[in-house]
């Protein structure tokens, strides 16, 4: 699985980083950043899916 955050859509609800802190971090303003190169380890796939589902702005894209 690969994941990316559309920075033009993120406004910093911070749900993703609360749900899956291994994959999502925060910049200084509180907007989401993907940690690493966007590859999701199998043990974090469930967390990423919940993060996608929990983003009010629909700013996270996960692809298999």
């Amino acid at each position: 699985m690969k994941v990316e955050v559309d920075r033009s859509m993120c406004v910093g609800h911070a749900q993703c980083m609360a749900i899956c802190p291994a994959v999502f971090g925060s910049d200084e303003l509180g907007y989401a950043v993907v940690i690493g190169d966007g590859s999701v380890a199998p043990e974090h796939e469930e967390g990423v899916e919940l993060a996608v589902d929990s983003c009010p702005e629909q700013a996270i894209r996960a692809t298999d």
Binding site: G12, L50, S54
Partner: protein, 389 residues
């Protein structure tokens, strides 16, 4: 089908409506998703999630500068950064957001916990308490005054009480005005104090170094930002804590589940925010004639974003009117949607969670006091009883 519907007198502030909001919101979503109300001088209502999402995110078609509170607050000054548009709005947020970002808020957790613990310790031996007055209201007040670096005195409490808690319960307009004047005057003196004593770490001092595209903030901007930083997290946070604690009092199974699995507190907080959203609705003003869900909205007309209804839209949340402790449902819009997302959302979430944790730590088993259920929808007393040992 979308029609030019008239919800006539729909009023999102009406407590009787809020008490039966599941039906009222469903009626709007199902029969007339963008309907019109004659209340408060007239406005359109976006009731479905997808329409709230569309309007809230589009700051070019829908402005906030004309004011987003409906009805407007009684004192005629803008609430910043909420009542602003580009270029000012992103600049206000650029200054404020680092102070409320997840890492900064995580650093406040111990402080918040100490405050909450002290409040709960104050009632733990009593066996009965009004949680609204002893925990829900004081926690955010203690916290925000600390962040602003201000001392509270008697007059300060009276002004905020009248202004924040009086707005929705019919306090006389002259009284509200006088309280606003008192509070603005107090804050102006605080700002003058920070100018004379620069270099402090509080939020008022932060505002003094703000700029909009290189232009320093004007005095009125500093005062309006300062005022809203103070009041934004008071009533709403108190309301949110109250609704969450009341839920635990009336749903012992949920209380037991959170005690057994403390991680469930996150779902508890999110479900509470979704179903009992403290900010039911805010509005936007169309910058040009446009359409939402096929409904024409005229230039200058207002559109209410009915967050409470979006949060109960079955298109997004299955069985939307039930409290799902096993679900997060983090897409709810209790903190708004789009660039105007509540600056303090991370802090508010922290306060809700810590209030629950600290109450349950000392008072794990409690119930509503005798009498009618006070409901989640009023900012009023929340009397509970428990076996104090």
């Amino acid at each position: 089908m979308t029609t030019t519907g008239r919800a006539q007198a729909f009023d999102h502030n009406d407590h009787a409506m809020r008490a039966r909001c599941a039906e009222a919101y469903a009626e709007l979503r199902d029969h007339c998703p963008v309907s019109y109300s004659d209340a408060w001088g007239g406005f359109w209502i976006a009731s479905r999630y997808e329409d709230v999402y569309e309007v809230g995110r589009d700051v070019e078609r829908f402005a906030s500068g004309p004011g987003v509170m409906l009805p407007p607050v009684g004192h005629g000054r803008p609430l910043l950064p909420m009542d602003s548009d580009p270029p000012e709005h992103p600049e206000y947020k650029r200054l404020l957001l680092p102070r409320f970002a997840p890492a900064a808020v995580a650093g406040m957790e111990q402080d918040v916990r100490d405050l909450a613990r002290g409040l709960v310790e104050g009632i733990a031996g009593r066996g009965e308490a009004d949680l609204y007055e002893t925990l829900c209201k004081p926690l955010p007040m203690l916290l925000i005054t600390r962040l602003l670096g201000i001392e509270r005195d008697e007059a300060f409490w009276a002004w905020t009480d009248t202004l924040i808690y009086g707005r929705v319960d019919g306090t006389d307009a002259g009284e509200i005005r006088a309280a606003a004047d008192g509070l603005y005057g107090f804050l102006a003196s605080q700002i003058a104090d920070r100018r004379a004593n620069p270099g402090r770490d509080d939020l008022i001092s932060l505002l003094l170094v703000g700029d909009v595209e290189g232009r320093p903030y004007r005095e009125d901007e500093i005062l309006d930002l300062c005022f809203f930083l103070l009041i934004a997290g008071l009533e709403n946070t108190a309301f949110g804590i109250r609704a969450t604690l009341r839920h635990l009092a009336v749903e012992p199974a949920h209380r037991a589940a959170v005690l057994a699995d403390p991680d469930l507190v996150h779902n508890l907080v999110e479900q509470s925010l979704r179903l009992y959203a403290p900010v039911t609705a805010l509005c936007r003003t169309a910058t040009r004639t446009t359409e939402v869900a096929g409904q024409t909205i005229g230039e200058g007309e207002r559109v209410l974003l009915l967050f409470g209804s979006a949060n109960r839209d079955p298109a997004v949340f299955p069985d939307p009117d039930d409290f799902h402790l096993d679900r997060r449902d983090g897409r709810h819009v209790a903190f708004g949607i789009g660039p105007h997302r509540c600056v303090g959302s991370n802090l508010a979430r922290l306060e809700l969670r810590v209030a629950v944790e600290e109450l349950l730590r000392l008072i794990p088993d409690f119930r509503l006091a005798e009498g009618p259920d006070p409901g989640w929808y009023d900012a009023s007393s929340l009397n509970i009883v428990w076996d104090a040992r």
